[in-house]
Amino acid sequence: MDVLINLSLNGLATGMLIFLLAAGLTLIFGLMDVLNFAHGGLFAWGAYSGIWIYTTTGSFLVGILGAILTGMILGIITERWIIKPVYGNHVQQILITLGLMLVLSEMLKVVWGPNQISAVTPDYLSGSWEFGGIIIIKYRVFIIAVGFAVFLAVQYLLKKTKIGLVVRAGVMNKEMVQSLGVNIQRVFMFVFMIGAGMAALGGMLLGPYSGVIYADMGMEFAILAFIVVVIGGMGSFTGSVMAAILVGLSGSFMAYYVPDLALAANMLLMAVVLIFRPQGLFGAKG
């Protein structure tokens, strides 16, 4: 029983980290029709900047806020100067964002060096709780809680505010939104900023979870995030959280019970979903 609970918590925590990365990716794709391969780079920059601020100031919270701010600033720069000129051209988008991903990773090595950096869990989130012989690691619960809190906050933003309404309408019909007097470019920038901030938060939280951060972590997690976006349905925010949890749990359980298949599990999951539901679990047809 304790194994099942721990595997579930582990899977949920990993799922939430992937969700933080995938949610921005899916919103950006849904609204802006942009495949942003550089999103993983924002995740890695969030990790490095956040851990650096945390180490320098000694405050984990300030580190988190710093990571989010870094992600948002990089997000705005990326959207305004790199992606905006190639709106509507998928080939150019893929090439330019893949290039940016490499630049962002290499820049991390220039600033913080090529070696991986250790990241420690703050004291108040270290250790574990024990309930009837079952050990629950505090930091994993923290990640799950933050992930759900972000999910609820973004859901609130999307479902209960005017800007959220505009974003949802924009995902369905950008042209009509503009015809109603909305500056869609500003909405694009806002969504990109939120998505980048979430990715950076995910990167920051991953640090103490895995114990180390390294420049290529962005690419590794971006692949998982793309799998999640495809499984959840491109453009679906709810789909991204459900698929992220699914991928997190399947990865956790497969790694324990069938370790040889652990790496292939996500690909298999994606293949099965695509066979039976090509638009993804929560994606709209067509």
């Binding site: 949802r168 309408a169 369905m172 009509m176 503009q178 109603l180 007097g181 500056n183 709209a284």
Partner: protein, 235 residues
């Protein structure tokens, strides 16, 4: 009567195709101006060019004597131009309420009065208030699209083929609503249904091969069988 909108020798390309090759017309304030013409003549592109959804390469588009040709679509809309596109542009995943709400620019008593008025005109929208727009019938979608354009205090409404694909009884309802809106705002109506157009319209412009080729009062067109046959293919 003052001119609200004036197009002068407007030309528009879509990709390599030269769709509008010289569109000129004037829309007097408080009237319904009907754009007529065969399929593919350039009527929809004319409305899209006014909205900035297609960019005019030549000519001028003056709204209240201000050049709006180079402005972005949102800015044109915010000057007081509402648009009901040919495909209705309903946000399928949003409820009827949300479809209206996303369009509302100012939440005040005046907007509420306009909303109440339009909902009285289209009681179906009230009935399906919490239903997704995608589940509405074609006629209800048209009503929603018109309501959405009307809810703001727009000085000009561009309505593109509101009768297209609708059952005759629904066409009557839509026609009645436009008739009633006529007293409150200026309208440019693109319409293939000549019966509908001639009932509602005050004046007409005929577009053929991307050019305005004829114009006059609607009474004139009603009486001119030759012109109707030549440009519209109807007797």
């Amino acid at each position: 009567m003052s001119t609200l909108l004036k197009l002068e020798q407007v030309e528009t390309f879509i990709g390599q195709y030269h769709i509008l090759q010289g569109i000129s017309f004037e829309v007097p304030k408080g009237e319904v101006t009907v754009l007529l013409g065969r399929n593919g003549a350039g009527k929809t592109t004319t409305l899209r060019t006014i909205m900035g959804l297609n960019t005019a390469s030549k000519g001028s588009v003056l709204f209240k004597e201000e050049e709006i040709k180079s402005l972005p679509t949102y800015s044109i809309a915010n000057k007081g131009i509402g648009y009901v596109p040919e495909d209705q542009g309903i946000f399928a995943g949003l409820t009827v309420e949300e479809n209206i709400k996303v369009a509302v620019k100012k939440e005040n008593d005046e907007t509420q009065q306009r909303l109440d008025w339009i909902l009285d005109l289209f009681p179906d929208l009230k009935k399906f208030w919490k239903k997704p727009g995608g589940l509405l019938s074609g006629g209800q979608k048209q009503m929603l699209s018109i309501a959405r354009a009307y809810v703001n205090d727009n000085e000009l409404l561009l309505i593109d083929e509101p009768s297209k694909g609708l059952a005759p009884i629904v066409v009557e309802k839509v026609m009645e609503s436009i008739q009633q809106m006529k007293d409150k705002t200026t309208i440019i109506l693109v319409e293939q249904n000549f019966m509908m157009a001639s009932t509602i319209g005050d004046s007409f412009y005929i577009i053929d091969d991307g050019r305005t080729v004829s114009n006059g009062s609607m009474n004139l067109l009603r009486e001119d069988e030759e012109m109707r046959r030549k440009y519209l293919g109807i007797a």
